[in-house]
Every structure is written in C-alpha cells, then in structure tokens.
C-alpha cells in the first residue's frame, strides 16, 4: 500500500488514475478440493498456514489496489466473517477498502461477472483475479502497458484492447503449471497481443492447433507458447463485465471469453498478454498446485511473501537454514529430525524420533513419537499419534490420525475426521467429515458421472475409531469430461497410477470410462510432443520401452495373483492410456507373456488351460483383422525363438482360433503374408507346420460355404 503521500501524488499527476479497483472471484466453481471445500471455501484454506486469500489481497495491495470486491458464492458468510476480522478491515485508516459481494446464484466465472455488471460496481479498469493467486509480482508495469494502449499518444495504441492477461514464464513441464489445465497462447511478440488461445488438456492429447489464417495476414510474427504459467491475473477494462452480460452463455474466462473475443469478428476487441519473467505468480486451482505452490513458498521463490514475513499479524515465524520455519512455542523433542523445507506453526509439539520433511504443519498440532511426515500438509490442531506415517497428503483442522495409521500419497482428510488406529489409507483417498452429497455441488446441467451415486460405498477401512466418510472424486461438470485431467491435477498424483487409482477409488465407473475413451485412443498411435520435435523421438522411444516394461510387470502380477481377465485388461488399458502406448505394443508384450505361462513339462493340457483363460485377454487388445495378423506374427516369432516352444505353436494357433481371437481370414492372411515367410528358418518351419491346419480350415470353410449355399 503506498503511503498517503504517494497516493496523493498518484492522484495528482496521472490523469486516468482513479481508484484502482480489483475483483477477486473467491469461488473456484469446481470441486477440486472436495471434501475440504465442502466446509470451507477454497480461498480460506491455509497455504503455509495462512489463508489463501491473504496472499491474493497482499498481491493486490502490493500492486496498489485500493478497492477490492470479493465475489463470494459458496460459503459467502465465512468469507465475509473472515475479511471483517482480518487486519484489512481493522485498519480503518488503511487505504485499502475491501467489500464482499455476495452472489449466491453464481455458478461460473461468467455468472459472477454478470452479477458484477448488474451491480455496476466497476467504474474503471480493474484487476481480475481468482481468490487463490499467490504472487509477489508488482503489476504497475502491466497496468501501465494496459493503460498506455488506451492513450492515443502511445506507440502501441489499441483502443480495442479490453484485457491484458498477466502470464509468467515457466516451461512446458513446470510443476507450477496447472496440470490438466495447460494452455497454449499464440502471441504477437512485437505487441504482445494474444491472437489465439488454445486450452491444452493432457487427455485427450491435442495434436493440432487450428489458427485462423487471417492471423498470419495481420501479424508478421507470432509465437506459440506452451511454456507460460497462467495465474489468471487479468487487467480488464470496464467493458469486460458488460461483454459477459451480452454473451450470457460465456462461462469461463479463458475458454469462453478469451476464445470468444479472439475468434469473434463482430466484437472487434483485442486481448494482450503481459509476460513476466522475474517475479512469481501462480494459482492454486487443484491439490497438485496446492502442493507445488506451498513448496515454492517454502523454497522462497515467492520472496518477500515467505512465512517469516508473517502475512497474518499474529504469526511470528523464524527462518533458519534449510528453509525451516518455526513459529513461537514450537516444542521439538530432542530426537526428532526436521529436514529441509518444513514450516511448523506455533504451539506445535513434535515427539521423539519423529521425522518431518518437506511439510507444512499448522498451529497447535500434536505429533507423537516415531511419526514420519513427508511432503504432507497438516493444518491447525491436528493430532497425529505415535507411529503414524503420512506421505504427501492434506490433513485438515482438528483431524486425528490414531496410532500406526498410514496415509499414502495424495490422501485428503477433512476437518475433524478421525482415522485409525492401525489402518492404511490407500493412495488418493479422500475422507470427508460429512457424507458426500449425492449430487455434485455445481451439478446444474451435465451429468458427467451419472453412475456413481450410491454405489460409491467404499471398502476403505477408516479403523475402529475412525469417523468420516469416503468421498469419491466426481469430477467437474466442466466440459473437459475426461476424468483423467482431474486425476493428474490432484495432489502427489503419479501418472503411473492412473489405472491403479481408478481401481481403488472408483471401481464402478472406471471400466465404462475406459471403454468410452478407447475409440479415441486408437487415433493416437504416435507419441510425440509437438512442441519439442527434436526431443520427441528419443522421448517416444524411451516411453514405449518404459511402457512395455510396466506392462510386463503388470501382466506377470496378473498371472501371479490370479487376477481375472477383466481386471488385467483394465490394468493394461490404464497403463496404455497413461503412457499413451499403442495396442501393438501391448500385444508385443502380452502374447509372449501368455505363451511363457505354459508348463512345458506337460505342454498340451497346460496350454489349453492357459489359453482358455488368457486367450480372451489377447482378444481384448485385438480389434481387427490387421491386429489378428499381428498376433499371429508375434506368436510365430516367439515360438520360433526357442526350441521347446516350437511344438506349442500349432496348438496355440488352434486354440486362439477356437476362442475366436483370430479368425480364418486373418490366419489366411498371415499364412500368405510375406512377413511370415521371412522371419528366419525356424519361423518358416513353424509356418509350414501350420499348412495342415490351413488346409483344414480351407476345407472347413468350403464346407461352410457349401452349407450356406444350400
């Protein structure tokens, strides 16, 4: 906040300078943080022990905002109560005025802006941010750039400019980018005008970008940038809310508004970008970003907004080497180990032989002995009993984790929940204090996951004294109806787990999802990253290799643990999708693997049982004649490889035929293909062996056709 003197000066010399207004959209209009946001709005969730909105207000204050409107929908009372009790409203003398606008009917960003327009609160250019921005950026330059476009004397005058998007340079795989919500900005580097916007969800992968040819006419040079972190900080002109009102179907700021404006010929408005590379800006849209932003704060990328700056006046944190932040009255036992990047709130007690790394622990938590906390976020008043292990999870206020309980990666435990003793929560478990409502909170139009509902009852054990309800990730009602985008956006998500996660969390719908998507997956046989052509081939090769290895592991597990074919198929599909592998690769792996299952001491009965069970698995990954031919080629090569497998070829061929995995046509095609004749002497020998079978088939077919004829 500038000093009074400065303000006066600002009022004096810049003509356009009215009060700088800012709008915070406190609501996220999605359920990424469920079940936490069921009880507390996202903007009040603590990040490094400070409510998220403090960071946003601080950011706006640094940038000189004087009037802030917080548009609150969900939990509006809580937000209002918080603001009223915060330091911002205590300072009656403060030059920062905050008003909470209660807009209970809003269901999207578009609605919120329409509401603002209806209330006519906005009188000047304003800063539009989400209630979840963490930034140390000073917007003065961006503001100046935005304003100068309006002035006629400026070099880059563009009276049609209505918005400047403030973006932060990162890299395409930057951890601070919202996974699952990346986007590509096409920018004219000479003016920073944004000419095209393309959201880039990782699933299904986009391989092409359609840019209007006119753009090339108008701009001598354009850059397609996939390296930008979009913190959703926008400097908007007054007419932006009005535009939303005019286009009542616009819901989203980026995918509707920005795209709408850029593609519309009628509106004739332009949008600019301001790309910052020296300051920090990120948004906490999902639990994965919660994790990465918290870590950025602990690692001081956000300096001076770091814990020891004590954004909340009651806090006093002390920084010490290794990025360890301790509040007052922290009681660490003599033998506990506090490793790097740890923040511990005041009044917290850590017991003997406990270990804390890369974590944030809130105020007045009690952590017992022999506890291991790694990459976790414990909020205030959490009680962790002895022998607990927590990995990369969020545990909300007043939760109790009883003895010897373990929380694996990505768990979210809501307010006041009790878990344990002696249970293990699998990865990505979400435990709410209230039962999950049947309808999604924002479920107004789409039924993205209709089959969930009641069968969401889970078999996850919360322990004898456990209280709380398992929540299942329902996904958004956004149009990105690929639930995987949601998965990858959650805390500590490991891409490898894409299928495993489904298995544990929501068995019921995973099959259908995978089924739905499998069609589109077929199109994506090439793995490549359009933006890194030089690396893509190496990357692709490495990925395929890795994928195959995982596949082998998965299938051998399936054999060893006697999985059902369905389960194995599911797992394979999951793996294939997460690694973006092709079915050819899948078959390359599983056909030999299945043949290898045959007990060679008693080949005939064994191959029968093996193929009876697993033959259908091959069938599940074989979708056409070409695929069937491919299977036969693999079989041929594999059996030819080893002496003792020679005799298995014919029975296998026969059995696969019997199981309808391969059809006659395919067998004929295989037999006649050049490839089958050129795979080495032993392979050719096998082919010759099959001649009898082929003949038999041909005869049988003739008979069939004869019969048909009759």
């Amino acid at each position: 906040m500038p000093s009074r003197a400065k303000q006066k000066q600002a009022h004096g010399d810049t003509d356009a300078d009215q009060v700088l207004q800012a709008v915070i959209l406190s609501d996220s209009f999605n359920s990424r943080f469920m079940p936490l946001t069921y009880e507390k709005p996202r903007c009040l969730l603590p990040v490094c022990n400070v409510p998220l909105i403090e960071y946003t207000i601080e950011f706006l204050a640094i940038s000189g905002a004087q009037e802030i409107f917080i548009v609150a929908t969900m939990h509006a009372e809580q937000i209002k109560a918080y603001i009223e009790s915060s330091k911002w409203s205590k300072k009656n003398s403060s030059s920062l005025h905050i008003e909470v606008v209660h807009a209970s009917e809003c269901l999207s960003v578009g609605d919120a802006l329409r509401e603002l327009d209806a209330r006519q609160l906005i009188t000047t250019d304003f800063i539009l941010v989400g209630g979840d921005v963490v930034s140390n950026m000073k917007l003065d330059k961006a503001l100046e750039a935005h304003r100068s476009r309006k002035r006629s004397d400026s070099k880059y005058t563009d009276k049609n400019a209505i918005m400047t998007m403030v973006l932060k340079e990162g890299s395409s795989y930057h951890p601070s980018r919202a996974r699952g919500e990346e986007s590509v900005f096409v920018v004219d580097p000479s003016t920073n005008e944004c000419v095209h916007y393309e959201p880039m969800e990782p699933f299904p992968r986009k391989k092409r970008l359609d840019i209007n040819a006119e753009i090339f006419e108008r701009h001598a040079e354009i850059e397609c940038r996939n390296d930008l972190i979009d913190p959703l900080i926008d400097i908007c002109s007054v007419e932006v809310p009005a535009l939303f009102s005019e286009n009542f179907d616009w819901q989203h700021l980026r995918s509707d508004f920005v795209r709408g404006v850029l593609t519309s010929d009628i509106l004739g408005k332009t949008i600019y970008t301001y790309i910052s590379n020296d300051s920090y800006a990120a948004r906490i849209q999902n639990s994965q970003q919660y994790d990465s932003v918290s870590r950025d704060i602990l690692k001081r990328w956000t300096f001076p907004i770091v814990p020891e700056t004590n954004l909340q006046e009651s806090d006093i944190y002390q920084y010490s080497r290794g990025n360890i932040y301790k509040g007052t009255r922290v009681m660490l036992s003599k033998s506990c180990i506090i490793e790097d990047n740890v923040q511990i709130g005041s009044g917290t007690v850590v017991g003997e032989n406990s270990r804390v790394t890369n974590s944030v622990i809130g105020k007045n938590c009690k952590i017992g002995n022999n506890v291991n906390i790694e990459g976790a976020y414990l909020w205030d008043n959490v009680i962790i009993e002895d022998g607990v292990a927590i990995k990369r999870s969020i545990v909300a206020n007043d939760a109790v984790i009883l003895t010897n309980t373990t929380l694996d990666n990505g768990c979210i435990v809501s307010f006041g929940v009790k878990i344990g003793p002696s249970v293990a929560l699998p990865k990505y478990t979400r435990v709410g204090s209230q039962p999950q409502p049947k309808d999604d909170y924002f479920d107004d139009e789409e039924e993205s996951d209709d089959e969930e509902g009641d069968n969401a009852v889970s078999d996850i054990d919360l322990g004898e004294q456990g209280t709380g309800y398992i929540w299942i990730d329902k996904g958004d009602n956004d149009e990105d109806n690929d639930p995987r985008n949601l998965k990858v956006a959650s805390l500590a998500f490991d891409l490898k787990d894409l299928s495993v996660g489904k298995e544990q969390g929501d068995d019921s719908d995973s099959a259908s999802e995978i089924g739905d998507l499998s069609d589109s997956d077929d199109e994506r046989d090439s793995v490549g990253d359009t933006w890194h052509p030089e690396q893509s081939q190496i990357l692709a090769a490495r990925k395929v290799e890795e994928f195959k290895r995982e596949l082998e592991q998965s299938i051998s597990r399936a054999f060893a643990e006697q999985h059902t074919v369905e389960l194995a198929a599911l797992e394979i599909t999951g793996l294939r999708m997460s690694a973006n592998g092709s079915y050819d690769d899948v078959r390359d792996v599983i056909v030999p693997a299945i043949i290898n299952q045959v007990d060679l001491s008693k080949p005939m009965p064994s191959i029968r049982t093996v193929l009876k069970k697993w033959g259908s698995l091959i069938g599940k990954v074989t979708h056409g004649k070409d695929d069937q031919v491919h299977v036969l080629h693999i079989l041929q090569v594999h059996c030819a490889d080893k002496e003792q497998l020679h005799k298995l070829f014919l029975p296998a061929l026969r059995l696969l035929y019997d199981d309808d995995v391969v059809e006659e046509d395919a067998i004929f095609r295989w037999y006649n293909s050049d490839r089958s004749k050129q795979l080495g002497p032993s392979a050719t020998a096998l082919r010759d062996k099959a001649t009898v079978f082929i003949k038999w088939l041909q005869e049988a077919e003739e008979e069939d056709s004869d019969e048909d004829d009759e």
């Binding site: 906040m1 500038p2 000093s3 009074r4 601080e58 204050a61 640094i62 300072k91 009656n92 003398s93 403060s94 030059s95 140390n136 932060k168 340079e169 990162g170 890299s171 395409s172 795989y173 930057h174 951890p175 601070s176 980018r177 390296d227 590379n277 020296d278 300051s279 920090y280 990465s292 870590r295 690692k299 001081r300 990328w301 956000t302 300096f303 001076p304 700056t309 004590n310 006093i316 920084y319 010490s320 080497r321 990025n323 790097d340 990047n341």
Partner: protein, 401 residues
C-alpha cells in the same frame, strides 16, 4: 494503541512497506523510523517520560518485528530512547550533583576519540539548553550528548556500589518542558546526523586513500561511493569492483565510479582472490555492524575479506553510526535474508527447481577479525572498539526492545 489516527496510518504503511521490502536500505529505513518517532513524541499524549518510553518501546518492537533484518529500525529506536532518558535525567540532575560528578570524571577518560564533534555538539547543545534551563550547569550539557559514557545507565550491579539511588531516576516525574527538548534532540542528534553521514565519512577519505593505490570493493554502497568519490577529487587511484553476483550491484557501482572519473575495473567474484595480491586496500560498506564488530554486508563480502586477510591487505568498512547495532551475532544466519532464488536459477527451469534446492542469501556475515578499521561518520575505530561506540550510542537497558 495511543497513536493518533494519521500517525497510525503512517506506521502501518511503513510496516507493510518494510514487510514487502518496498523500502530497503538502512538509510531510508533509519530516516523514516526517526521521522515516525519524532511524530510520536510530538503528537502523542503523554504525561511523563515513563509513558513516552513505553510508547516508543512498543512501537519500536512493532517496527522491528515487521522486518527484523533491518537492524537500523531498532538502532534508531534505541537512540531515541536514550535521548529521552538523557533529557529526563538532565532535568533531574540539578539535585544530584554527585552523579554528574562521576560522569564527568569518566568522560575525560574516554572521550579522546570524539573530541572534535563533542565540542560542536556541546556548543549546539549548550545554546539550546541555555534557552531551556538557565540555571543548569555544564554537566547537564555533557549529559545530553549521546556520545558520552554513562555510568549510571548500566544495569550492572556495580551501580549499587556507586550510588544506591542512581538507577532509580524518576522518569515518571511530570516534566512539562521536556517535549520540545526531546523533539529538538531527535531533530539534531538523529535526523540532522543522518543527513550528514555520507559527508562525515567521505571527509575522512583522504586519510585512508593514498595516491596510486589499488582499492577493491564489492557491492553497491552509497557510503563507499561517496568515500571514493571524495578521495578522487584530490588523489589518483584505481578501483577494482567485484561484480557481486547475482544482484550485479558491483557493476552498478563500477559505472557510478567510472562516471566520476575513477579508473575502475570490474572483475567477476571468482577473480577476487586472484586479483587481491595487487590490491592495497579493501573498502566495503555494511548493512549493519553488530556489537562484536562483525558486520552484515552484501553477499560476497566475507570472501573478499578472507582473501584480503590472506594477503594481509587492510580492510576498511565505511559505515554510519546508525548501522551500529547492540545485538550480537547469536547465530550467523540470524541476520541474513534469503531472497528469491530466481536470480541464481531461473524459475522457468521447471523440472530442475523441483529437484534441486536453490538458495540465494542476500547478506554475508563478516567476522570482526577480518576487519581492520571501521570508518564511521564521527571518526574511525577498530572492531574491538565497537562496544564503546555501542555504549556511547545506546542505553544497555534497551538492547532488547
């Protein structure tokens, strides 16, 4: 809070600027603190000195908590506290001749260093006090000068030997004439002092920098810049500036020096040791000087000082007295600030920053044994003498605010 509304707003704004590091550099911070404290004295309602001292202490605590690394805040607060106590004691002293007798005695023993400015001070002082309180004697005058040792103010048990009542100066006595006096003291002793610090230090430049010397410095310090500039008016010498990565303040410094016609060379920080053998003197600035004579200075200073020590090159530290802090380096990290690592490794190196921890400490702690001389605005002193300067400037009761 008893502060007036306008003042409270000013304080709040100062605190948030401190927190956001929108106001950095000990000079700016010191000046603003002094101005705020003067306003507190003048606009706050206080009936006696005890109340005033308490108000100032509370405010000082708030201000220094806002940015504990800006030690200048605390230093100025302590200076003001000392001034208030002196003024109060000055008024009470007429009926306590014995005390002032001892203090005079001790004065003579120790004041050799600050002789010139004492005279100046006492002159100024004398006039102001004559106007106030004509029947007071010269002891009073001596007393009001902060740069004097005060036996009575020590919390030592030895005071008990000296006089059993001396540590009970009655600060709560109603004393109406005090306010203008205190304000005047703050104006003259602190604010006016701040305005002349650069000159005071620069004026000594010719004593330390001789013709054809090679001087090395690091970082950007206005004090050092003025010091060298002043020397350059009369003498011809060469300056080598370490670039001071990652902030590259050294380059800025070199540009400024070159602009006034000094022959300047920029070297990388890693070349400091190699070049040191040619250097006659190292002149560096400080962010703060701690009570043991160690200093908090821009990162890289310790390296320069260590290289200088190896080559037995004298190290001069140019520092104004307000940078002198009565705190000790309890922990060498305590007064350091780790700023964003962005300058060391760009944030856009996304995947790398996730795997590596990057640190970017802004300051260095230079131990007293690496420093040969402090050049301050009233003279110069070796590190072992810093404790005297501290005792002269602050009341030891106020070390912990």
């Amino acid at each position: 809070m008893v502060l007036s509304k306008a003042l409270e707003a000013h304080v709040e704004s100062f605190i948030s600027r401190l927190k956001r590091r929108q106001i950095v550099g000990s000079y700016e911070v010191a000046k603003e603190t002094a101005i705020i404290l003067r306003q507190v004295v003048s606009t706050t309602r206080w009936s006696d000195a005890t109340v005033l001292i308490q108000i100032i202490k509370d405010l000082g605590r708030r201000l220094s908590a806002a940015q504990p690394k800006e030690l200048a805040v605390g230093n100025i607060v302590r200076r003001v506290l000392k001034i208030i106590k002196e003024v109060v004691r000055g008024e009470l002293e007429t009926d306590d001749i014995m005390n002032s007798g001892t203090s005079e005695e001790s004065d003579d023993g120790f004041s050799d260093d600050d002789e010139e400015d004492n005279e100046e001070d006492s002159d100024r002082e004398f006039k102001s006090i004559l106007a106030q309180d004509t029947n007071d004697n010269a002891d009073h005058t001596n007393d009001a000068i902060p740069a004097r040792p005060k036996l009575q103010t020590e919390s030592s048990m030895f005071n008990l030997l000296v006089d059993q009542h001396s540590d009970n100066v009655d600060y709560s006595a109603k004393s109406y004439g005090m306010k203008p006096l205190i304000i005047q003291e703050i104006n003259e002793e602190i604010i006016a002092d701040l305005e002349t610090v650069y000159k005071g230090i620069a004026d000594q430049a010719l004593e330390h920098i001789h013709a054809n010397e090679v001087i090395m410095t690091i970082g950007y310090s206005r004090t050092v810049k003025d010091f060298l500039t002043k020397a350059a008016l009369k003498r011809n010498f060469q300056v080598i500036v370490a670039e001071t990565s990652p902030t590259l303040q050294g380059q800025e410094m070199a540009a400024a020096l070159a602009a006034v016609g000094i022959e300047t060379t920029v070297i990388t920080d890693s070349a400091v040791y190699a070049v040191m053998s040619r250097v006659n003197k190292v002149v560096i600035g400080a962010h703060a000087v701690l009570a043991n004579g160690g200093l908090v200075a821009v990162t890289g200073s310790q390296m320069v000082a260590a290289a200088a020590k190896h080559h037995a090159t004298p190290v001069l530290v140019c520092t104004a007295l307000y940078k002198l802090s009565p705190l000790f380096p309890y922990d060498i990290d305590l007064f350091n600030v780790c700023v964003t690592p962005d300058q060391v490794l760009s944030f856009s190196e996304g995947t790398l920053i996730d795997k590596a921890d990057v640190q970017n400490p802004y300051y260095d702690f230079v131990a007293p044994e690496f420093v040969n001389l402090f050049v301050h605005n009233l003279g110069s002193a070796p590190p072992s003498y810093v404790y005297r300067l501290i005792n002269d400037n602050y009341d030891s009761e106020d070390t912990i605010l």
